[in-house]
């Protein structure tokens, strides 16, 4: 599979009044055409910042370094004009809060057609016709009527579908979905995730799915990247992650997913918090919370090493046995 997006050595620092904050530290990531990659980690581990930085959507206080090759060009050095041709047209985003992602003063139809008329130069009539099709594609019932409704008349799930419709309106090559299901209830979550997978199958677009919920990725993702404190610490096909993850942090995340049928008094947790990094890590940043930490973990920084085929982890003392 050829890489659609090839990120190499991506680092992001923020200047703040409390000094530098290292949000992303030397992350590399490839996404193949039509592949769904899950980017997993706790809040604040740099998942969103990493993807936002690809399209240079971060505030000016951020310093971004590294390379992000997309269709033969490095996004991180492109001019604003070149970037505008990529944003929304070839790479599009959907966000966590569907209800506030739509402008409350315009109808769904106005907002969907605006994107197509701007990027694809369609006429009003043609854009509207396509918008009806799009709403059908994202499985909104009675699309013609919904087009003339305002966001507050739609449920959260429908708003997220409408957002997805807008995001795929220009048939992007890559869809970045930042916690698209967090604000939705569980049954709707499944429907939206299924929809994303089906859209990938129909349109052949790649998806980066950002989530803190391993349960969410299990169903639809091809490959998982686990991030911790700004670094990528494990990457493997999704079955590998659940069958035999090596990194103690990944194991902790999997253990933290509650399971039906197991009666427990207390849910599994990983003690402690994600540290705030003020520069590139010099040790394993998970060591203070790690059950397997040893002296070398605080002296050196573990690099990503291939442990099996297609499976890398950054750990000096990885688990070897299956989960």
């Amino acid at each position: 599979m050829s890489a659609l997006l090839d990120v190499r050595g991506l680092s992001v620092q923020f200047a703040s009044s409390h000094g530098r904050v290292q949000a992303v530290d030397d992350v590399s990531l490839t996404v193949g055409a039509g592949e769904i990659v899950g980017l997993v980690g706790e809040s604040g581990c740099g998942k969103s910042v990493a993807t936002m930085s690809l399209l240079r959507l971060l505030p000016p206080t951020a310093t971004v370094s590294g390379e992000a090759w997309f269709e033969g060009t490095n996004l991180l050095v492109q001019s604003p004009r070149q970037l505008r041709a990529v944003r929304g047209r070839k790479v599009s985003f959907i966000f966590q809060e569907p209800m506030s992602s739509l402008n409350p003063l315009f109808t769904i139809g106005e907002q969907i057609t605006e994107v197509m008329r701007k990027h694809l130069g369609l006429s009003r009539r043609e854009a509207r016709r396509r918008a009806v099709n799009l709403l059908e594609t994202v499985r909104i019932a009675d699309p013609a009527r919904r087009l003339s409704e305002y966001p507050h008349q739609l449920s959260g799930g429908m708003c997220q579908r409408a957002m997805i419709a807008m995001a795929i309106a220009c048939q992007p090559k890559l869809l970045i979905a930042d916690e698209p299901t967090t604000a939705l209830d569980v049954t709707i979550q499944t429907e939206v995730l299924d929809l994303l997978r089906d859209l990938r199958d129909e349109l052949g677009m790649a998806v980066i799915l950002i989530t803190h919920n391993l349960g969410v990725v299990a169903d639809i993702v091809d490959r998982v990247c686990v991030m911790y404190a700004g670094r990528k610490i494990e990457e493997a096909p999704v079955e590998e992650i659940f069958r035999a993850s090596h990194h103690p942090y990944t194991r902790g995340l999997i253990a933290a997913v509650p399971r039906l049928g197991n009666r427990v008094d207390r849910l599994e947790e990983i003690p402690g918090h994600v540290p705030v990094m003020h520069g590139p890590a010099s040790m394993c940043s998970f060591a203070p919370r790690c059950p397997r930490a040893a002296d070398d973990c605080v002296e050196y920084r573990p690099e990503l090493e291939p442990l099996e085929r297609n499976h890398t982890a950054a750990c000096f003392h990885p688990y070897q046995a299956p989960v």
């Binding site: 399209l55 959507l57 000016p60 807008m166």
Partner: protein, 291 residues
């Protein structure tokens, strides 16, 4: 809970035009809106409505009490008080609306740009606004019209400038909130040009706040005009204004109190109505209360 209750609470109301305009039927809006509308009509049609010219003197009826000939009596020069009140509405109206328009024309773009682009420009503008807000706006207006020279145009300009900082602060504050909204981020992400984002996504969402703020700025400017005219910095004789009527009536406060009370009643009714209308519009237009 009965079946109709359930149906009533779960079926979303259809957004018909009558429902959208339903707020117009609220009693406070109806009453204050009527006074404001009457004020606007009276000011616009003053020459047709007023029984006499506002500067026509009738020396046979100086300080005459209300009568069939002069419904609200006459002043110390024998001028018809009703006619002067009606023409005085013009000065108030002009000052109130124009000053607010001037302030909006300056404050909205400034607040929008400062709030949306942030950075050093925003910091400079915000500090400047803080400095201007440190002066009470009416004191600022007095100082400005003293500099510009006494006339209704200059008083209006001064009141407009004095109203700018408050409006900039509102426009900037709302823009700060809106720029963090996901739909603005989504627009940036889909490469919407900045001017389109400001025009389509930020400004329309500001509109209801600005409309409310304008209905509160107009009465402030009306009081300001009366005050400036009272001090001799606004409308010049013989053109009537509620403020100059007050200052002219000062010697007769004991002998003919209506000369003071009538303009005060007019100022009071109009500014109160504008303020009530503003409050009611805020309730009606606040998108957070819309559902």
């Amino acid at each position: 809970m009965s079946a109709t209750d359930i149906a009533g609470s779960t079926i979303a109301p259809e957004p018909t035009r009558s429902r959208r305009l339903a707020f117009l039927r609220r009693p406070v809006i109806l009453a204050s809106g009527t006074v404001v509308a009457a004020f606007i009509v009276v000011a616009a049609l003053a020459p047709a409505i007023a029984p006499y010219s506002p500067s026509a003197t009738d020396f046979t009826a100086v300080l005459a009490p209300p009568s069939g000939r002069h419904l609200l009596g006459t002043d110390d020069l024998g001028r018809d008080v009703l006619s002067r009140l009606i023409y005085g509405a013009r000065a108030s109206q002009e000052a109130g609306v124009l000053a607010t328009a001037i302030a909006l024309a300056v404050a909205v773009p400034v607040g929008l740009v400062a709030g949306f682009f942030r950075g050093r420009l925003d910091a400079t503008i915000a500090r400047l606004i803080d400095v201007m807000l440190a002066f009470p706006s009416l004191v600022l207006a007095v100082a400005l019209s003293a500099i510009f020279g006494p006339s209704l145009t200059n008083a209006t300009l001064a009141l407009g400038i004095a109203a700018i900082p408050g409006l900039v602060r509102v426009a900037r504050g709302e823009t700060l909130v809106l720029r963090e909204q996901t739909f603005v981020k989504a627009a940036i992400v889909s490469a919407t040009p900045t001017h389109t984002i400001l025009r389509r996504h930020v400004l329309p969402n500001l509109a209801s706040t600005l409309i409310v703020q304008a209905t509160v700025t107009i009465p402030t400017a009306i009081i300001g005009e009366s005050m400036l005219s009272f001090l001799g910095l606004g409308v010049q004789a013989p053109t009537p204004s509620w403020g100059s009527m007050l200052s002219a009536a000062e010697p007769y406060i004991a002998s003919a109190p209506r000369l003071i009370l009538l303009p005060i009643a007019a100022i009071f009714a109009v500014t109160l109505s504008y303020n009530l209308l503003g409050d009611a519009l805020r309730d009606a237009l606040d998108p957070r209360l819309r559902l």
